[in-house]
Amino acid sequence: MNSLEAVLTRYKDFWIVGLKYTMWITVASILIGIVLGLLFAIMRIYGNRFFKAIAVAYIDLIRGTPMIVQLFILYYGLGSTGIVKFTPLQAAIIGMGLNSGAYQAEYFRTAFLAIPTGQTEAALSLGMTRVQLIFNILLPQVIRIVLPSWTNELIALTQYSSLAMVLTVMELTAVSKYVGSKTFLYIQAFSVAGVIYLFVSVVLTRLMVYFENRLSIPGVSAQKLRI
């Protein structure tokens, strides 16, 4: 217990900074991912052949390569050419946002396709434009369908944010490694990090379930719409 205290109290500030970076990376990248995902999903479903091809290629390429390689291309690759020079934190957030965008595009696409086509026909026959159709009719339902996938994505991103460690961001895993190497109490330091990760994912799951219940339309269950 003594050793655990040494790991926790003496390095309290480090743990707090680590948690802050982890959460910051996760939240920022999921927000980028939502915007990109929506954009690519709409491009893929409603776009002409050109936009569709771009969206498909993007989603395929991102989902077919490891996130760590993407982060390295962004940080070391682009950084060494001198076109854009990101700080490690920026590279981590942008890289994970781009990555999440491809995955979320697929969630959004399946959600769009889960809504009965009758609604699209009805909206168009009432004289709505496509933009109105997407934003007024489909999107409010799509968001409700996609919420459970966001829970998974949030937790996945919380875990993958540990990759920012190789870009020298001091997030939770990097902090635990640092504390471990300082005190030689590796197992204790890693356990603390593990417990924090578990705690964060439990809290995030609860929060998302709350939102799901809060947003659900009585009688229209998202469960039923998801095929």
């Binding site: 390429l61 077919g64 390569t65 490891p66 996130m67 760590i68 390689v69 993407q70 390295f72 291309i73 070391y76 690759g77 682009l78 950084g79 060494s80 050419t81 076109i83 937790i155 919380t158 875990q159 993958y160 944010s161 540990s162 990759l163 460690m165 190789v166 895993t173 635990s176 490694k177 471990g180 590796y186 197992i187 890693f190 990090a193 593990g194 990760y197 578990l198 994912s201 439990v202």
Partner: protein, 219 residues
């Protein structure tokens, strides 16, 4: 020069490509380990009486809840396992927790009537399991399992932090020694992409070949 093609000369490429061995070795061994441990986890969770089943469930939750990177570091620094062993165990344990879930859900997708039918024909519970449920569950499992395979294939790149000589580590090594990063990393991104596509299409072919027509169709 933004993109210097001369970095991608045969000797550099060959050096990087040798890493495919480790990448595939890690993938297959840890998928295999994950399959064995995952079925143990799934059985424990479903068929053991409550106090024991909770233990299996908590183990699964923990393995799913902590980042792979942290798992690697725990095994490598905490338990002082070698780098290859840490990589295999880390990937395998994590994959076990996911494969257990895939296996469990495909077992549950088979209707309980088959169990009753088997028992009423005089088969023992184990026989029903071995002869009737598992052969079907394994087939239903394949699409979910394909995703898991690809995830593990991509996640082998994280073993880079341990220094296992896979594609990623070798690419990083070459990139640092030559001082050109973009070309090499784009090259390995393409290698991973090709590997993912190949494994995806071959597993889909396998599924088409061994699936029972009508069983496990999109519901």
């Amino acid at each position: 020069m933004i993109f210097d093609i001369s970095v991608l000369n045969p000797s550099n490429l060959l050096y990087v490509l040798k890493g495919i061995f480790w990448t595939l070795f890690l993938t297959f061994v840890s998928i295999g380990l994950g399959l064995v441990l995952g079925s143990v986890l799934a059985f424990g969770e479903v068929y053991l009486p409550p106090p024991f089943s909770y233990i299996f469930r908590i183990i699964g939750e923990i393995l799913r809840g902590i980042p792979l990177m942290l798992l690697f570091l725990i095994l490598y620094f905490g338990f002082n396992l070698g780098m290859a062993l840490s990589a295999i165990l880390g990937l395998g344990l994590r994959s076990a927790s996911y494969q257990g879930q895939i296996f469990r859900s495909s077992l549950e997708a088979i209707s309980a009537g088959q169990m009753h039918a088997g028992l009423s024909l005089g088969m023992t519970k184990f026989q029903v399991f071995k002869e009737i449920l598992v052969p079907q569950a394994l087939r239903i499992m394949i699409p979910g399992w394909t995703n898991e395979f690809i995830t593990v294939l991509k996640d082998t790149s994280i073993a880079f932090v341990l220094g296992v000589m896979d594609i990623m580590t070798r690419a990083d090594f070459i990139a640092r020694s030559v001082g050109r990063y973009l070309e090499i990393y784009i090259f390995i991104a393409l290698i991973y992409f090709v590997l993912v596509k190949i494994s995806m299409s071959s597993l889909n072919n396998l599924y088409e070949k061994i699936r029972i027509p009508g069983l496990g169709e999109k519901r």
